[in-house]
Amino acid sequence: MFLKIVKNDFLRNKIVTMTVFVFITMAVILAASAINNIANLFQAMSDLQENAVPADITVMHAGEYDQAEIDQFTKRYRDHIAVQETMVLQNIDGSDIHFGQNQTMAGTIQDISFVVQNKKFDFILDLNNEKLDVKEGFVAVPIYFMEQHDLKIGDTITVKSGGYEKEFIISEYARDFEMNSSLTSSKRFVINQNDYDEMIELQAGELEYLIEFKLYENGDSATVQTAYIEAGLPANGPILEGKIFTMFNAMSDMAVAIIIIFISILLIVIASLCIRLTFLATIEEDIREIGVMKAIGISKKDIKKVYLNKYRVISVAAGIVGYLMSFAVVNLLNGNMRLYISSDLSGSLKYVLSLIAPLLVYFMIVMYCQHVLKRIDKISAVEALRSAITERGKSRKYSFPLLKNKFFNTNIYMGLRDVFKRFNLYRLLFFIFVVCTFIVILPLNIYNTMNSPEFSTYMGIGKSDMRIDLRRTDTIREDFKKLQEELKNDSDIEKYATYITSSYQVKNAEGSWDYINIETGDFSVFPLNYLEGRAPKGTGEISLSYANASKDGLNKKVGDEVTVRGGGEEQTLSVTGIYQDITNGGKTAKAHRSLGVNEEAVLWYIVSMDLAQGVDTRVKMDYYQDAYDSAQVNDIKEYTGQTLGNIIDQMSQIVIGGIAIAVIIAVLITALFLRMLLSKDMSQIAIMRSVGLTSKNIKHQYMAGTMMVLILGIIVGVLASNYLGEFLVSMAMSSMGAAKIELVNVAWQTWLLCPLALIVAVGFTISMCCKVTVEDDLSVVLRS
């Protein structure tokens, strides 16, 4: 019996039923795929971690080094340390690596090193997550570079450095737990021991050491780190904890999953609103029948069942279809994961966890239906028979009289006033247009922000045209001096400033010593926007990155004091400001030049510069790159672009996806809404036609009203993405070290292109849907 009612109802409202079905299915597909993706991510990460056995503590060091000291230290802390191994990296400049037709890897912001596979832990894997075993003459290239330069297995790369030159055939992708992510600034190429020895012999690269510790399960990482520093063991590079690599590896996939879940929630809301609209229209149409059913004594519960069953059937069907389809869709989303984390995503957890999505959607839809159907309780049999329910509360003061209209044609005015008069009805459409605008503009703003030079603000660097990084090499000090001399005499350079980052110890909240990287220099030349306070200007001043100043870091406010130790000398500095920085795990600091340089622990030198007007940045960059082999010369946009690499790519896909989804939703809902509205207003339309209005007149009324709702929706949507969006993005980014993101808003895109796309799509839909007014004889409607 109930199935028969459902079937009849489906046949009566095919379009509406199909639309609701499509939305629920889409919501289930997205939610299930996102959950599936998260389940995959967890399983894949643990699989990768199990095979790669990453280090818990990695100390980077360049320069003098004695393994015996490290062995002694390891012995002393054997309660904590399970194994120790030192990997010796041979750093090769990007410009020394040749591939394809006269191409090199110059210009990369990554530090490139050639290594041999470790023996005990921190293994570099192939795409099957098995330990790489590279034969002589072959090389395994990091996935990042394979992607970046579109390299294929079987291609060759040639390393030419000093007197060394050798061609390698690419035999494998190198999947590197510690250095997979573009957010990690080093990448390791794996070669055979014999090739490696030859490289060392011919001094092809600068040596750098990764002193790695694998701890016992109950080993305390902080204790070992502090002890290591206090023992004065080699550590002029950063000390990295294992968990930061996990975070970097998971971040971009996690971000995509979260955005998809967000879109899926929006779809559920939209499906619910469609159902509400359907209920309002059908209940209104059926109100007499409800009255008759009540009058002949059918219980409220049974009447509700008639309406509810249809949506139960739709939800179950959509749930099953969506759940099954999600397994196909998920393959579109996890390409990145399959490449970087694990090619084998066959774990079974996802099948169970993805079931949460259809179940949750089913219960949400049913609960929402029950909520809407409460209206039926309130309708008395008599009221229903007189069909007065939806016309309640009409004795309010009369507004928008026709004579007040001074600017519009009467039909346009009728359409506009209808929106205000029946805003309860139109608010659904308004909400949809706001949401659609939001899902177009927010990703677009994020994309533009990531691509803009202003993004450097969130990377702790002031805005400049160009930057030169000098990293650990033997000639670093001489190079730096030479560079400064040259810049002073280069008339193409408008201004420049030099910054030296060295490693210090800092007293943490518990009173013990941690490591901190402090950059010194003149911060007034390329000012950075501060979250609070200002840049350090005088003696004894320091500013901290947001992550360093936060509770998880040093827990400091502007005006507090920080004690640092470098070269055996302790200094107390006062905090003048807090800035945002998502680089180096978010934990950096800047101090006035008077702090001095910790000569034993200089990490890198940076020179920021602005070029004089008319100077070609590219030419200048090439010049300095050629003159300083070991330097990395970038313009700021390139620098941010390379660091954010994958995230920007994924974001651009989200922008395109967002536009497609927004247009589909806007068009579908507008069509559905107008169909409902026109069928609801059928008698009013017939009255207007009976007094002499043409179908065209009436069409103009509905077009005017709907277009106004669209335009209001777009305005509110754009404002919401600018303000609410900024708040949401800042919240999401605060864990990475940027707590106050100001989204870049490209006016012609936000206010012209995107609105125009929506207006054209929706306008066309409105124009198509309003075509049919009353086709039959007018009397059929007027007399019914």
Binding site: P401, G692, T694, L778, S779, L782
Partner: protein, 255 residues
């Protein structure tokens, strides 16, 4: 006097399902003179209202011809028909059919305001005058939920008159009203007719028909008889006699 409406061989068929057809109007021929006051009577389902809607171009006839002021309306496109209704015809319905979101005076003014280049103030003055004439000017700014059936029907009449039509069609305009309101509405319509506007209405009520000058009688889609009378004049006080004579005539024709 010339004819405002001339219908010849008018047929209306409606399809009900695949092989089921309803023949509602059967070869109806009818002339209505300008300034005439005509009523149509007949049992339920005899085709009275269908006749009215097909003559006015609100519905399309299946075959035959209907001329309004000499022009064939069957060949007019939707837009031309709408224009004809807007400028030359007025309608009054049993269900009144006012627009829900407009006040009473806005309902009256609306058909005039949709015309291009209209003087809004003149329309307002005219609407006010019509409301005064029908005795509901005090309710002008009320919502339609705030009037009684009789009051709202007067608004319907004012709306029908706002564009000074040549003819007013009424589909049982007093059908839902009490006897007092019915009498008031009929005297307003009689007054309008006196000023020269043709009126044609469908009714079940002999008292209503007695106020008109020609009564048409329909049975099963056929126009079977008509009765011509002198124009009604309230001062003659002969309502009773007119009603009795119509009643007798109806019975003679099988009512």
């Amino acid at each position: 006097m010339s004819n405002i409406v001339e219908a010849r061989g008018m047929n209306k068929r409606v399809e009900l399902g695949k092989e089921n057809e309803l023949h509602i109007l059967k070869d109806v021929n009818l002339d209505i003179e300008e300034g005439e006051f005509v009523s149509v009577m007949g049992p339920s389902g005899s085709g009275k209202s269908t006749l009215l809607y097909n003559i006015s171009g609100m519905d399309r006839i299946t075959s035959g011809s209907v001329k309004f002021k000499g022009s064939e309306i069957g060949t007019l496109v939707e837009e031309e028909l709408a224009k004809l209704r807007l400028n030359h015809m007025g309608f009054i319905f049993q269900d009144i059919n006012l627009l829900k979101n407009l006040s009473l005076i806005d309902n009256v003014m609306f058909p005039a305001l949709v015309s291009k280049d209209v003087d809004k103030n003149a329309v307002y003055q005219k609407a006010k005058k019509l409301l005064e004439m029908t005795g509901i000017d005090k309710l002008a700014d009320h919502n339609i939920t705030q009037g009684s059936g009789g009051q709202l029907q007067r608004v319907g009449i004012c709306r029908a008159l706002i564009n000074s039509p040549d003819i007013i069609f009424g589909d049982e305009p007093t059908g839902a009203l009490d006897s007092k309101s019915t009498a008031e509405i009929m005297s307003i319509l009689a007054e309008i007719n006196k000023k020269g506007t043709t009126v044609m209405l469908v009714t079940h009520d002999v008292k209503v028909a007695a106020k008109t000058e020609r009564v048409l009688y329909m049975v099963d889609g056929n126009l079977v008889a008509q009765k011509k009378m002198r124009k009604y004049d309230a001062q003659r006080n002969d309502s009773k006699e007119r009603e009795e004579s119509i009643m007798k005539w109806l019975v003679e024709n099988g009512f």
